[in-house]
């Protein structure tokens, strides 16, 4: 039986342990909106432990997801796909669309159009018999 789900879950548990330490430290030295101790005031004291807790939860959830997924065979996957050009076109479209955020909205629309053509190509390649 394969137990690869244990490893991300265990890593998440270790992160949870670390975040518990940070929550504890923050709670002990916290008073209201700011946590002041010696000469240091921690701004938004919940933010740092919350970030770590989110990662811990994510890793545990990944472990659970792996547990639910059936591990596949190592063999038999196609080493190459005819969808390569369409994938590249989709990525170029995505980059152009994102660049619109810096250059102008018109570029975002151009990028979306290019990405749509690429996606259509990927779908066509998937439906093509091999």
């Amino acid at each position: 039986m394969r137990r690869s789900w244990i490893w991300p879950a265990a890593w998440g548990a270790l992160l949870a342990l670390s975040s518990a330490g940070l929550w504890g430290y923050t709670a002990l030295s916290s008073s209201g909106a700011e946590s002041c101790r010696v000469s240091v005031c921690i701004g938004k004291p919940w933010l740092a432990p919350a970030l770590l807790t989110a990662s811990a939860a994510g890793a545990v959830l990944l472990g659970c997801a792996i547990l639910l997924l059936r591990e596949g065979r190592a063999t038999g996957a196609a080493a190459d796909s005819p969808a390569g050009p369409a994938v590249a076109l989709t990525a170029v479209g995505a980059v152009v669309a994102a660049a619109g955020g810096a250059v102008g909205i018109w570029m975002t629309w151009v990028g979306i159009g290019v990405a749509a053509v690429g996606l259509a190509g990927i779908l066509a390649a998937r439906r093509r018999p091999r």
Binding site: A10, I42, G58, A78, R130
Partner: protein, 529 residues
Amino acid sequence: MTTAAVEPRAGERAPLGALSTDHKAVAIRLGWLCGAFFLAGGVLALLVRSELAVPGMQIVSHQGYDQLFTMHGSTMVYLVVQPLAVALGVYLVPLQIGAANLIAPRTALFAVWILAGGGALMYLGFLTHDGAGSAGWTAFLPLSSDRFVQGSGMDMWIVGVALANLAVIILAAVVLLTILLRRAPGMTMLRLSPFCWTQVVTCLMVVFAFPAVIAAMGLVYADRHFGAHVDPIWYLQLFWYYGHPAVYVMFFPFVGCVAEVIPALSRKRFFGYRPFVLSLMVFTTLSMSVWGHHLFTTGRSANEYFAATSTALAIVAGVEYFDLIATMWGGSLLLRTPLLFAVAFLLQFLIGGLTGVIVASPPLDYSLNDTYFVVAHFHYTLFAGSMFGLFAGVYFWFPKVTGVQLREGLGQIHFWLLVAGTNLTFMPMFVLGYDGMVRRVADYPSDAGFTGMNELATAGSGVIAASMLVFLANVAVSLRWRRAAGDDPWEGHSLEWATTSPPPPGNFDRLPPIRSSTPALDLRRAGPA
């Protein structure tokens, strides 16, 4: 000898072209892309060092200098070392776990193009009226707001950084899921190669820490375009929540390279495999828990907690060093170029690691923060560490990837030049920082006593550039006048050495039995069937 059959599908013998989704082609393309960015980032570094060689402004303006060091740091972190760290996994992981390809090869190909586009966008900023991004690779707020950095070049930098990191997240997720879900029969998690284990922990960190930098870029964008007036502490927390794990993302895969090179070229099995795996798990947990030390001097961080976790890193790092040294101990060392780079990696990174303990102490960090001491520290970890580990891997696996050996003589010249150049460049920076020279300045007073050390550092950067030219010449000569390497020139231990060099599409015609973390070594010791 029993072997398990691998069944490549009919019609699978596609060439490794520019748009191929074979993991080897994807990784090689990624390698070339990062190599091109490395050359660009290196030229920027030479310009920075040339400007700093002597007091006064000789080459660029102050604004131009800001763009140079920003783009140098951004290129090396976002476009070179981070993606290279995962690119190694894209090439080697399927081979080492006995898989025919990645679990999602098209997604990996998509990520490579996203990375290329993101990098191009960052560099296109140089063509805009106000130039490229110039707020440092960290783009701290409020420095990166439109009050201090105007123009669309900075916006292009923000979008480019977000895209580059998105690409690395996608690649890491694909590599991680491939390891977790696509291992060959017999390849349990505790039979993974040390390199694969470093990829597991690296990818976990990428997947669970790197989204923070995309959020941070979103904050800068919102501040610049929507008047969000983001609290700088929010930005600092988010950025460094990504930024410090990123340092280890740029370290562990190269530890993995060294952990493959040392046993093979010491003719010994890896010492302390299980403690190594455990230390990786704990090390990466701590790596995720130290980011607050970047906020020591803000007076807004849990200093005691982050000082404790940062200092504790030395313990788990010690376990890994012990394993690697003990593997060499009593071995029959084959002192070829990969092993030279591996040993130098241990020594050079040690300087970076030990000076890290110094800046992990808040009272010392108050004094050294934002000085050249920090610049020297992180270049010893990121350049002297990562690059030496990377080159150990490049010399080790070049025969596997291409079927030919790199020239040993040129390799040794490359190695010794790089050792000399690295220490000549970065060791004087410790002195400069200790003497109070602050980072991110284009000029310094002529009577400050900084000139001599800056001249040394600039000379060293020239030596590094020369070493890279030797490496490029080695690659060109070796590929032009090919000397066949054979399938297993180093008598390697992990599974990739049990297939042809270069491997065929589908990777294996037949898989050997997998009964340990060293299946290729087991196969060789079992003898011919």
